[in-house]
Amino acid sequence: MEPIIETRRLSHIYSAGTPFEHGALVDVDFTAYRGEYLGIIGHTGSGKSTLIQHLNGLLKPTSGQVLLEGQDIWASKERTRQTRFQVGLVFQYPEYQLFEETVYKDIAFGPGNMGLDQKEIDRRVRQAAQFVGLKEEVLEKSPFELSGGQKRRVAIAGVIAMEPSVLILDEPTAGLDPVGVESILGNIHDYHQAKNATILIVSHSMEEIARTVDRIVVVNDGRIPFSGTPREVFAHGDELEHMGLGVPAMTRVFHRLRAMGVDIDPSVYTIQQARDAVLAKLGRGMG
């Protein structure tokens, strides 16, 4: 697989030279591959937000490099600016960034900054609105009349409208009800499928991302202790618990079973997998 974003020995120190100085990232080597659906998990303050802000050039590394398609994003000013459009970043609670009079204008802010012509902007705004499930009539409303969930969709559409090849979302479902969570995750999935974009989704909830992502990167204490497929990562159940990251309920049940002496695969994380594992076990037991 071809890497799209890489960091090389990336370190970031906040408030260098003051009593508040602390290292948020330490020699991080991170890779995201083209077309990948990647989950980044970490506890609050683990450095995951700092990491993603480096990926689109919002933060400048204290040392180390960030490469987009093999090229340093800090090579020139223009390059950094282009990176912002190629790597779309949706912040946590993005609804607080809305400012325009209408939803349409707000979504058009990003594409407008890219210097696109009116027709292209219009196409992108409508398409982005469609991706996040906003109806046509909402476009002419003020974003401040909408409900929290709707605002969130507008904000995500504002980034999707730039058609980034890498889309990073920081806790996109925080504070939403279960239906909202499902629907937003579905929208992101649709974008991934339609544009063959690389998706990085940051979360502290294993349960939520385990089902959708191809690969999980764990961030703890400014480092990446391990990464891999959800199965591989959840095999580190104890270490994850130690970092304050709960593993999915199913995984916990199977770890417990194993601890009780049942010879069973502990890396399951969905009910479907659990069912298959139990059936396989029972089948073998009976045979």
Binding site: T18, P19, Q97, F109
Partner: protein, 270 residues
Amino acid sequence: MALKDITLGQYFPGATPIHRLDPRVKIIGTIAYIVALFLAKWLVSYALLLVVLAIEIALSRIGLKSILRGMKPILIIVLITGLLNLLYTPGQGAPLVTFWVFTIYREGVWAACSMVLRIAMLITCTFLLTYTTSPIQLTDALERLMNPLKAVKVPVHELSMMMSIALRFIPTLIEETDKIMSAQKARGADFDSGNLVQKAKALVPLLVPLFISAFRRADELAIAMECRCYHGGEGRTRMRQLKLTAMDGAALTLSAALCVAAGVLARLGL
């Protein structure tokens, strides 16, 4: 713009003797220092005050770097003041330099130096106060110090509550500004380039969300305060009682001594 670098009025937690002083004493001490600073006339006084300041800085363990960084925003004002004093102070002796329409006298050089020094020291000593005293302590102390004004119907409690809320929300708003700025930058907003009009226009995507969130926060805070039966200062007791210690007494005595010394030195013309 690096918002994180703004340290104006930021508290550096610590446990040094300066940190532990009663905030009321620190406020009075600061005022006494400023009074002494304005009494100062000649080198001896300035040297004395500079030494006192240096000892205070050393005691507080605040890095010189942090203090200098805090000074940055007002550097221009200080320089302009110095320059005006240098150019416009008339003198008796022979002019040192004459160019264009300006004449610089010895008195001008002294006035400029002393003015720059005075402002720098004034700012440093007030910084020392806010660096070593948490905003809550500070407003607490102010409320106590202004208490006598209640007799003439000054809403002392309300004022100090307003002040503590304002102080409390400065870091929050700075953080929020930073966040919104990042979010808009991620959408390609450009805050740094362009002419003045373009720059002002570029602030709209920053200011609108900032105002909205400030109002939202104010509303939430009011509700939270009402839920906890806040009804103004009447009969309210404090969580932290301020008590003067021997150290506070010593600090007050030293402040008074400093003022007297500055006054005497000024009389002697030193």
